[in-house]
């Protein structure tokens, strides 16, 4: 297994893990195996003092499920949370409700759940997506479940930090209120990434680097201790990426 080619989700896990700061209090919600793995990896590498609350982790001792998680966020105790969307636009608006008109949608989706509140109350948000295409990254979302920043709300605590996809790392440029390309992964050029993004990634005149290569240490910790722990929480995802045990 150690010699197997790096899976795009493994790259995402490493890229997200590097964005996690030591000492942060971070949490992941439902259906978030990639961020969960990233937190576990960060804690075993550069962020030993990270507090990682992974929803679904049998080792997590709580009483009131998401109500308890959300209470921590309300009170400003969450530094970092992870969200995703079915549509994301240049301003960082997130849609999880409908494709098309709300009353006559092409597709109706489960909705945003705690996305709106968490986007406002966690100090920073990292968005992760398991695909990168122009159906996801659109000029304007069909429904705004959450905004990535909003100066008009005095009690809002946080903003979007980064967007991590299987092709690239993007960041939120808060001077221009826009998502811009930050780095690409090996095998994906800036041109490739821009071609499958439905809005301008602000690359003109900027030198966009490739991410630092994934180290042998990162990969061995990820495929060792991190996957072993992740199997307790996300068995189906682990079977898909690393095979069944």
């Amino acid at each position: 297994m150690t010699n197997a080619a790096i899976h795009p989700f493994e790259t995402m896990i490493v890229v997200i893990s590097r964005l996690v700061k030591n000492g942060e209090m971070a949490a992941t919600g439902t259906l978030s195996p990639i961020p969960a793995a990233a937190l576990l990896l960060a804690k075993q590498t550069h962020a030993p003092d990270l507090v990682a609350m992974i929803y679904g982790d049998p080792g997590l001792r709580i009483t009131d499920g998401l109500h308890e998680f959300f209470g921590l966020a309300h009170r400003g105790l969450l530094d970092l949370f992870f969200l995703s969307g079915i549509q994301i636009d240049r301003r960082g608006n997130i849609n999880l409700s409908v494709i098309g008109d709300y009353e006559k949608p092409k597709v109706r989706l489960p909705g945003g759940a705690g996305t709106n509140m968490l986007s406002m109350m966690a100090k920073r948000i990292i968005l992760f997506t398991i695909v990168h295409n122009a159906r996801l990254f659109v000029p304007q979302v069909d429904f705004v479940n959450a905004r990535s920043a909003d100066d008009s709300i005095p009690w809002r605590r946080g903003t979007l930090s980064h967007v991590v996809t299987p092709m690239a790392r993007m960041k939120y440029d808060d001077r221009n209120n826009a998502i811009v390309l930050d780095a690409t992964y090996p095998g994906h050029s800036v041109t490739d990434v821009c071609a499958v993004t439905g809005f301008d990634l602000g690359v003109e005149g900027r030198d966009i680097p490739q991410i630092d290569p994934i180290t042998g240490e990162e990969l061995s910790i990820l495929r060792g201790d991190v996957v072993a722990k992740l199997r307790e929480i996300y068995p189906l995802f682990c079977d898909m990426v690393w095979g069944a045990v």
Binding site: H67, Y102, M117, P235
Partner: protein, 179 residues
Amino acid sequence: MLLGLQAGACGIPFTPVIGLLNSDYLKIRPDFKVMKDPYTGNDYVVVPPIVPDVAVIHAFMGDRTGAVITDNFRNDRLLAMAAKKTIAVVEKLLEPDEVTAGKFGVYVSSFHVDAVVVAPRGAHPTGCRGVYPLDRAHMAEYMSAAKEEGSFQSYLEKYILGPENHEQYLELVGSGGAR
């Protein structure tokens, strides 16, 4: 939604929520209003309480008084407290003294539960933490059947309408009961 249930559980007429301001939720939900916090002067969205007519929850165990133990990752206790009537489906029926929360459980008092239904493996095809896992093969079958009306109807007839009782259902899905 959780704060709406919290308001329902406490009998509060409406509740401010954190979030929702400046989102499209306000376009589709006329019952969500914006109100000034009388203390800080800041705007917040307020929502009505959620009071379900009936809540059905799944629990690890329960007793004849109606007390049950639910999963601590879920908010079934809140739901039971907010709903007018709560039906708890339990994996096993025990004596009241044996109904204790343990590592993953939350004690829900009989005050909040109206009926207890004993159904081992009653969460199938989803799992019950620490008792049995998700039935992956059955979930795959369901997801494939649910894509089209015809195949969904066949699924309903085979698994839901066909079996005369829970035991027959369990036999049909191939477990032979609790494991």
